[in-house]
């Protein structure tokens, strides 16, 4: 699957209180949550997202709370993928579980500027900066996680496992 869009750049330690402030944790509705995505930093974030746009961030993206509302809000806002130098561990799991593709590449992050046109391929793990022509290959997911992603998320993966008789 290829995702294409423009880059939205962020610094390091973008935490879950920024991604979706706690006062909005009274719903799991992606459309409602999307309205408040990144609100403490930028009240206009969602309004400036074209579906397929890509967040490009420094280290430790998604640190803080385990709230799954965070990747749900980002996806609801229309973001197609996140490229970061590193991800906080609970956010990493939550993104995969909710079907939000994520990629780790410090080199790519350093070489991408805001509004660069990007393309990422979830099958090959290749990131392309269409604006500059440069590409980067990211590390492949472990087989199990690739299976979760291929199934479309943890719930579908689990549903298939539970339905199929164990060998």
């Amino acid at each position: 699957m290829k995702i294409t869009g423009k880059a939205h750049k962020f610094g390091r330690d973008i935490d879950t209180d920024i991604i979706i402030p706690a006062q909005y944790l009274t719903t799991f509705d992606p459309d409602e949550l999307a309205l408040h995505c990144m609100e403490p930093l930028d009240g206009e974030f969602k309004a400036n997202v074209t579906p397929g746009d890509i967040i490009v961030a420094d280290e430790n993206f998604g640190c803080g709370s385990s709230r799954e509302h965070a990747p749900v809000a980002i996806k609801g806002a229309g973001i197609g993928a996140i490229i970061a130098k590193s991800f906080a561990r609970i956010f990493y799991r939550n993104a995969i579980n909710t079907g939000l593709p994520i990629f780790e590449s410090a080199e790519a992050v350093d070489a991408i500027n805001a509004c660069d046109e990007l393309s990422v391929d979830t099958g090959t793990g290749v990131i392309t900066n269409v604006t500059t022509g440069r590409t980067w290959r990211t590390a492949a997911f472990p087989e199990f996680l690739a299976g979760v992603i291929e199934a479309g998320g943890l719930i579908e993966y689990t549903r298939r496992r539970v339905a199929a008789p164990r060998k």
């Binding site: 209180d17 009274t26 709370s65 385990s66 799991r93 998320g153 719930i155 549903r159």
Partner: protein
């Protein structure tokens, strides 16, 4: 192997595991709260199983936006209550019996040494203080766990933090963990186990051990852990008859890095806005006037914390115009504090005392901040907007600094502290 590897191996049905391996593990406790359970319940319904894997092991505690802070929260709480009833969960705790989850579960003996616990709350790492492997995850992970009783884990490499020596007056587990996070940063333990050892750790109360492990996540840690010892066994003996296994790290266990700290070097700490790693010793704080002090949370709402605060507040009054909010973490702690006369001290000093709730810690209710306001809190995070308006500030500290600050109106040391 070290203790984290041993517990994971035992629950994976393996003799050995090594860092980096992906394993499937059986869960002893699967936990969620009022704001994370709704997502888990919705996703659980899609899996195709009718009942949770074990109605004794799925634990739900409504603690974040309760007693219901508004209609939307009431609807979430109702959904969670309905699910708990339909599933006949043994360990669902209604308002009036509940407490803050990470104070309640140890108190009730629901987590024991050697257990493997996952929870839809980042501070699930708290139970490492009992010598359990315990880590936070999202709602979807918990939904899958509700159905199967298992989860997948990547075995983390371990960092060892060895602390010897004697802590100074008023210095507690909260200061130790702020000191450590200050040194390694909010991703200094990213994806790693944080194992705390040494004479100074062994001398700590259970309450202080919970404080330390509670904030492992703030360094990015997968889990925090303190091996069970005589103190742990005595605590557990009063709370559960369930058999348990004490795991200990082998002498030749592998660690990615070992840190050695001296307890005498650990001053009372304050973490400045807007990162838990922005910690300084009290002597470097300078003049910081605050509007509100909160003593409570899953980090520091236990009886030891309240006793410390009471010692300092006794006979004193809260600084004019400052709001001091004290939140005992469970009903048992609430009653114990009341019976020990701590509430008289708090109320006479001019503090507000609340029923157990996470409340202001995440800017929910019971003490939210306006623009331009500053709070010092015994909570665990101080990111932008954490306790309210994005133009408010949160400083993190332990109960002694919190109580002294409430009296002085600005961040202060209690009398008798080294500085």
């Amino acid at each position: 192997m070290n203790i984290t590897e041993k517990i994971i191996a035992a629950h994976a049905g393996r003799d050995r595991v090594a860092p980096g391996e992906l394993v499937s593990v059986k869960i002893d406790v699967a936990l969620a709260n009022d704001i994370t359970a709704p997502g888990a319940i919705l996703e659980f319904a899609k899996i195709g199983v009718e009942r949770v894997f074990d109605k004794d092991k799925v634990v739900i505690v409504p603690d974040h936006f309760t007693p219901n802070k508004d209609i939307a929260s009431a609807e979430q709480a109702k959904m969670v209550r309905t699910f708990a009833r339909a599933q006949d969960l043994t360990n669902y705790f209604e308002i009036g019996q509940m407490g803050i989850e990470h104070a309640l579960l140890p108190e009730l003996g629901l987590v024991l040494p050697g257990d493997l616990v996952i929870g839809a709350d980042s501070h699930t790492c708290t139970y490492g203080g009992l010598g359990a492997f315990s880590t936070g995850m999202g709602s979807t992970d918990l939904a899958a766990a509700f159905a199967t009783g298992e989860t997948w884990l990547k075995v983390p490499p371990s960092l060892k933090f060895n602390i010897e020596g004697t802590l100074g007056p008023w210095v507690t587990g909260k200061d130790i963990i702020l000191y450590i996070i200050g040194r390694i940063g909010v991703d200094g333990a990213l994806y790693k186990a944080m194992e705390f050892t040494g004479g100074a750790i062994g001398a700590l109360s259970m309450d202080s051990r919970f404080s330390i492990c509670n904030m492992a996540i703030e360094a990015g840690g997968k889990n925090g852990i303190i091996a069970a010892d005589a103190t742990t066994r005595a605590y557990v003996a009063e709370r559960s008859d369930r058999p348990y296994t004490v795991f200990e790290s082998d002498d030749d266990a592998a660690y990615e890095r070992v840190f050695e700290f001296r307890a005498e070097d650990i001053e009372l700490q304050v973490a400045f806005p807007h990162l838990p790693s922005n910690a300084r010793g009290l002597s470097d704080v300078g003049e910081v006037v605050v509007d509100q002090v909160v003593i409570g949370s899953c980090t520091n709402g236990r009886i030891e914390d309240l006793r410390i605060a009471a010692k300092i507040l006794k006979g004193q009054t809260v600084h004019r115009g400052l709001r001091l909010i004290i939140i005992p973490a469970t009903q048992k702690i609430y009653k114990q504090a009341m019976n020990e006369g701590l509430f008289d001290i708090f109320i006479d000093a001019g503090a507000a005392i609340s029923t157990p709730t996470c409340g202001p810690c995440l800017g929910g209710h019971m003490g939210v901040l306006a623009a331009g306001e500053r709070a010092l809190a015994t909570t665990n995070r101080n990111f932008v907007g954490r306790m309210g308006h994005k133009e408010s500030e949160v400083y993190l500290a332990g109960p002694a600094v919190a109580a002294a600050t409430a009296i002085a109106g600005k961040i202060s040391a209690p009398d008798g502290a080294e500085n």
